[in-house]
């Protein structure tokens, strides 16, 4: 299955030629979850903020589906 990944913050710098409009298209085995996607992207050891799938923040290793829209954010602080 193919999922569409958009990266935020400075995560984009890790992927040469990152397409700011379309993000990354990542091929995964059917039934794979968020954890497998993060591993595939080489972000398993990177400190991440929240991850959303199809516009909803997810917790843990939720399964993905073909065409899923995944957004990966970094931790933030504000005020």
């Amino acid at each position: 299955m193919l999922v569409q990944v958009t990266l935020y913050g400075t995560l984009r710098k890790r992927f040469a030629g990152y397409d700011a409009v379309n993000g990354l298209s990542v091929q995964l085995q059917a039934g794979a979850g968020v954890k497998a996607l993060i591993a595939r992207l080489g972000l398993a050891e990177v400190r991440l903020g929240f991850i959303s799938v199809d516009g909803r923040i997810v917790h843990g290793d939720v399964p993905l589906h073909d065409g899923a829209r995944v957004r990966i954010f970094q931790p933030i602080f504000g005020g």
Binding site: Y8, G9, T10, R12, A20, R47, L48, G49, F50, I51, S52, G55, R56, I57, H59, R71, F73, Q74, P75, I76, F77, G78, G79
Partner: protein
């Protein structure tokens, strides 16, 4: 170490040593305790009894990084309560290096008279006739004042909105590049400055007489360690320099907490077009500046310089709150229009948050369609020109709501909320409702505590634990604002040993031990003074509430309302 008192009624200036009871106070701690002690709470905010107080943070002027934070305090014409409006730039460091603890502006100049206050290299203050600058916008004002008084002066002043005493008028101060793009925006303190008859504060930047430190070596060692921690932190050391505060657009929108179209939605479909990532890409492609120093002593460089398609300067710095208020909140996904609106607010002397929300309320009421950036620009220009409708906008979102008889007005104590919808982040409901400042995000930013991925432990849709989180953060922030530490340099506090280093630096200036218990006591003291003033000004528990819209109108996409009860709100200040 001195307090300069300026009596605008008689145009006399006196100096005094700071009274002993204010030892260890600067910034918000000093402005709020002085106002509580000296300003009649029932006074007209735009009358002679109110006082406008400028105070650098307690650690401003030291070698500690990111401490050029400036507090401006008064009774607010917008909220009717006490107000501290906090701004960066260089003026806090400039005044502190001259050994000036505070400038207290009292009385009221004769009708029609206008002055500027010049503080020279010897820290002597002088009132100078400023009739020639009447009606001038801030960029033009700074150009003229720097030509007249020298480049090496910071300028802190008001534009036409302040002179017209509009309730959302800001006080603008010059950044590291000498542009009046840093705003003490909240609470309408520009109107107080206008009512005093004070157009600008001109401060020499060559001061070499900061308050002495009791233990310079201890201070130096902790300041060095603290700076290293801020630099090493990923957010303050890497993300903010690259993307600025606009990096918040993406995650807050995704959390469904970005108030959109006058807070009728929590996600903006145009968010990608106005995100921090798009902003940085646009600026770089056009030859502007992303990593940009806005304030003295800053090592984070979260500012930016937005340019047009031809590379010409438009504004600095385009920040998250403005991108929200002039973007999602009015349904506008055009960064160029947002940048123009930001510049206009700085130039006219307006709070970008309240102005954007005033425009949003007008659009929601049907005055103009959401998303019409050109219409928003025309509306803000009306404020600058002082037209009849411009004056209604300049009176703030609640006034606009009354004008159109429109019910949906997202204000607390008459001041608009900021870029975090409390229905999707219940902790912000407590801060907005209970802060003595009115709708204010910096008073107690608990977004991180509401989102697990950012280290939070609270359910953001539940009331549980939100009061405690907001209370703790409000106490902490009252102390931070007293010290003059930049919000974003708080990463140093979170680092291992960082908080202890910060306590050591306070101690090294004070000359006596200072620990976490003193820190808590300081924050509580400031909040108690502010609450005391507001109570005497007529505020009750009923003022610590949100507008009905937040309890009754579910916010898409999560379709939640605020669930923090009135009794829980009333338990926030239990001291």
């Amino acid at each position: 170490m001195k307090v300069i008192r300026v009596d605008m009624t008689t145009q006399t200036i006196t100096e005094e040593a700071p009274p002993a009871e204010y030892a260890g106070l600067g910034g918000r701690g000093l402005t709020s305790t002085l106002i509580d002690a000296e300003v009649p709470a029932a006074c007209d905010p735009l009358g002679p009894e109110n006082k406008l107080i400028f105070a650098p943070g307690y650690l401003s002027g030291t070698t500690l990084i990111n401490t050029s934070r400036f507090s401006v305090g008064a009774k607010s014409p917008l909220t009717g309560g006490i107000k501290e409006s906090n701004v960066g730039g260089t003026v806090a460091a400039d005044l502190a290096r001259l050994g000036v603890t505070a400038v207290v502006v009292e009385g009221q100049a004769p009708a029609g008279a206008l002055y500027l206050l010049k503080i020279d290299a010897a820290a002597n203050a002088q009132l100078i006739d400023a009739a020639a600058y009447k009606g001038m916008r801030t960029y033009g004002l700074v150009k003229e004042l720097k030509a007249a008084h020298g480049e090496k002066n910071s300028v802190t002043g008001i534009g036409p909105a302040g002179e017209c005493q509009m309730a959302i008028a800001s006080i603008q101060t010059t950044d590291f590049d000498g542009r009046p793009c840093r705003a003490a925006g909240r609470g309408g303190l520009g109107a107080v400055m206008g009512a005093k008859g004070l157009k600008a504060l001109v401060v020499d930047q060559g001061g070499k007489n900061p308050d002495p430190l009791a233990d310079p070596e201890a201070f130096k060692a902790s300041a060095k360690a603290y700076a290293q921690a801020v630099k090493a932190d990923e957010f303050s050391g890497e993300i903010l320099p690259e993307l600025g505060t606009a990096v918040l657009v993406g995650p807050i929108n995704e959390a469904g907490a970005l108030p959109t179209r006058n807070a009728t939605q929590g996600q903006f479909e145009g968010a990608e077009k106005i995100s921090g990532e798009t902003l940085a890409q646009t600026i770089k492609a056009r030859g502007g500046k992303t990593t940009h120093k806005g304030c003295a002593n800053c090592i984070i460089n979260c500012s930016n310089e937005y340019v047009d398609k031809d590379g010409g300067y438009v504004t600095s710095s385009l920040e998250y709150e403005t991108i929200w208020s002039m973007g999602a909140m009015i349904g506008n996904d055009d960064l160029d229009a947002i940048a123009r609106l930001d510049f206009l607010c700085d130039d006219i002397g307006l709070d970008t948050i309240s102005t954007g929300v005033a425009v949003a309320v007008a659009m929601d009421a049907g005055h103009k369609p959401f998303g019409d950036g050109a219409a928003a620009i025309a509306m803000v220009e009306e404020i600058g020109k002082g037209t009849e409708f411009g004056r209604i906008l300049g009176a703030g979102p609640a006034a606009v709501g009354k004008h159109f008889n429109h019910h949906r007005v997202p204000v607390m104590k008459n001041q608009s909320m900021a870029a975090y919808d409390p229905r999707a982040l219940q902790g912000m409901a407590v801060t907005y409702a209970t802060s003595p400042m009115g709708g204010d995000h910096t008073a107690g930013w608990v977004v991180d505590k509401n989102l697990e991925a950012f280290g939070g432990t609270l359910d953001r849709f539940s009331a549980e634990g939100q009061v405690e989180a907001s209370r703790d953060t409000q106490i902490h922030m009252a102390a931070v604002d007293t010290m003059g530490l930049c919000d974003f340099a708080q990463s140093g506090l979170a680092a291992e040993g960082g908080f202890d280093h910060f306590m050591r630096m306070i101690s090294a200036k004070l000359g006596r031990p200072f620990d976490s218990a003193d820190w808590q006591a300081l924050g509580r003291r400031v909040l108690k003074a502010e609450r005391d003033f507001n109570r005497r000004a007529g505020f009750t528990n009923q003022d610590d509430r949100l507008p009905r819209m937040f309890y009754e109108e579910p916010l898409p996409p999560h379709n939640k309302v605020v669930v923090v009860s009135d009794a829980q709100m009333d338990a926030t200040f239990d001291f």
